[in-house]
């Protein structure tokens, strides 16, 4: 069996599962945010449920429009707060402790390897980087799991991606996943598990792995997953709130497809509007002037991302008439960036540094685009209107490319800025 099949089988109480089989599985963590949880809570109440199945496993993070951006958002966050208080949830994160959910849960050891996690947020697939089965669902699925502690799934077929070769300079986890999505398309992994393997992945740090698993949904994937190894163990140690279980795929596991990728010739990638699959190598971008840069989100708001951005922005200035907004994804990342002097680098360069929030990533607040404006963002979606006006444009890239673009005022390679 594949790692995905093994985790699902274990949580369904079965010895084996086959792709296509519909199983009901025990859920280790069920997550909601300020956009999706209010609907789930309404459904929870509508059927007369009184208690959540386990107060330590239902997690609520108001991160999208928080700190509350307007009255309506304040009302939504209030719904979460009151429910958390009523149910006495262990994991509710108030503004001041709150971070972008998919950066926060692994960091806080709330999700661990071997888990089944559902979240009413499509980027719940992020935790696959730890070797968990983790996937996004809607609010009704969340409501059902809050009541029963279970969710139903069709066991997905898996696609195995094997990354080989030497990573060229300035090529990061973000470039690998953008390149992969460019290769297979936004529905290239529809309904399937994306298993990321190979020597390149084994050498990749945890932050890059989280970036890759995060964007599995952008290829239509049900989950992205990476077998746990020494890097995973080192990351999990000292954080895990529950004992992890380490699964790997069997040597004779069956895959719907195996895709080999030689990373040696990959260049930094940029996804043009309006699909994450619309990728180009940085060398083929041409002259694209920009108005805004956003460095943050559940894709690239972690400490390694901020280090990379700071490496490019050190002793540089953000170009005139360009806004560069840096958003550490959690309070811990924020604090670490402060300790390392990264915040100073950003401030010296003329960046705005924000408290953790999803903010501009989904066009919520903290950096909305006007008509005709262009942004380079380290986020994960460049759909029409994603960051503001329907006639604005979002280009997706790594933190290094985003930082270089901020300096140049156009989409630029870090090679142009750092000698």
């Amino acid at each position: 069996m594949t790692i995905t099949e093994k985790i699902l089988a274990a949580h369904a109480g079965l010895d084996r599962v086959e792709p296509g089989q519909i199983v009901s599985v025990k859920v280790d963590v069920a997550l909601g945010n300020d956009i999706t949880a209010p609907i789930a809570i309404r459904e929870f109440r509508r059927i007369g449920a009184e208690r959540v199945f386990d107060r330590s496993r239902v997690v609520l993070v108001p991160d999208h429009f928080a700190p509350n951006k307007d009255i309506a958002s304040a009302e939504q966050c209030k719904v979460l707060r009151e429910f958390a208080r009523e149910q006495d949830l262990d994991h509710y994160f108030e503004t001041g402790e709150m971070g972008v959910e998919h950066a926060l849960l692994p960091e806080q050891g709330i999700v661990v390897p071997g888990d089944v996690v559902i979240g009413a947020d499509s980027h719940t697939c992020t935790y696959g980087a730890l070797g968990a089965f983790s996937t996004g669902v809607g609010s009704t699925d969340l409501a059902a799991a809050m009541v029963t502690g279970e969710a139903w799934f069709k066991v997905p077929e898996s696609i195995k991606f094997v990354y080989r070769g030497e990573l060229p300079p300035w090529v990061e986890g973000k470039d690998l996943i953008l390149y992969t999505i460019g290769l297979i398309g936004v529905d290239g992994a529809l309904y399937r598990a994306m298993e990321f393997t190979g020597p390149v992945i084994e050498r990749l740090g945890m932050d890059d792995r989280l970036t890759m698993a995060n964007m599995a949904i952008e290829a239509g994937g049900k989950n992205g997953i990476i077998a746990p190894d020494a890097t995973t163990r080192a990351y999990v140690e000292g954080r895990a709130k529950r004992p992890p279980v380490y699964y790997r795929s069997d040597p004779d596991a069956r895959y719907a497809e195996v895709i080999e990728i030689d990373v040696g010739r990959i260049r930094p990638q940029v996804a043009f509007p309006h699909l994450p699959s619309n990728t180009r190598a940085i060398d083929d971008v041409g002259e694209v002037p920009i108005d805004q840069v956003v460095i943050g989100s559940c894709t690239n708001g972690r400490i390694e991302d901020l280090r990379r951005a700071a490496r490019v922005l050190r002793e540089q200035r953000v170009a005139k008439y360009v806004r560069c907004i840096v958003i550490p994804a959690t309070q811990e990342i924020y604090r670490q960036a402060m300790r390392e002097g990264l915040l100073e680098v950003f401030l010296d360069a003329g960046c705005a540094v924000s408290t953790p929030t999803c903010g501009p990533c989904l066009g919520g607040h903290m950096g909305i685009l006007a008509k005709g404006e262009r942004a380079v963002a380290t986020t994960n979606r460049n759909f029409v209107g994603r960051m503001g006006h329907p006639e604005s444009e979002v280009y997706l890239a790594s933190p290094s490319v985003a930082a270089a673009s901020a300096v140049k005022g156009r989409i630029a390679s870090p090679e142009e800025v750092v000698a």
Partner: protein, 165 residues
């Protein structure tokens, strides 16, 4: 159950941000969401459509976020059902969980034009183009999902199991 209405056609990869832009997600009120249904795909959609009309889309309809606001907006706007070459998985799940009828049919997209009058039989998956006198078949709905629909959606299904419905 049968649905009958005029067809509105949309291209491939219609994401949830086009179905209901995030700028309207500070509410989950169906009537509010309905006003902005499909706004960033076709700003005139809500003004043009009539209750019962049908959305017909190319591949990967509903890709992107997990927001249930998307099927809620479509349902509340009065769209009777959605037919697509394929659906993104979270949208597919959400639609069943909350009772928006959807039909996966690879052929219908090429055989139906915008404005055609179409009738869909939910039981058999038969799609009839009344304007052109042609017929298509949607993929059958898996038994487990039929059970969900029969119970009136996922929450009703659970309430029934818990003896609360």
């Amino acid at each position: 159950m049968k649905f009958r209405g005029r067809v509105w056609k949309f291209g491939p990869d219609i994401d949830t941000d086009r179905i209901i832009p995030a700028r309207y997600l500070n509410t989950s009120d169906p009537a509010e969401l309905a006003k902005h249904c499909m706004e960033d795909a076709d700003p005139e959609f809500v003004a043009k459509m009539r209750p019962g009309d049908i959305i017909l889309a190319d591949k990967n309809f509903g890709c992107g976020s997990s927001r249930e606001h998307a099927p809620i907006a479509i349902k509340a706007a009065g769209v009777s059902c959605v037919i697509a070459r394929s659906f993104a998985r979270i949208f597919y799940r959400n639609a069943f969980n909350m009772g928006l009828p959807i039909f996966e049919c690879p052929e219908a997209f090429d055989g139906i034009e915008e404005g055609d009058e179409v009738e869909v039989d939910a039981g058999t998956g038969r799609i009839r183009n009344l304007t052109r006198g042609t017929e298509f078949r949607a993929a059958p709905i898996p038994p487990f999902m039929q059970e969900l629909i029969a119970d009136g959606g996922l929450m009703a299904h659970i309430a029934k199991r818990a003896g609360k419905g």
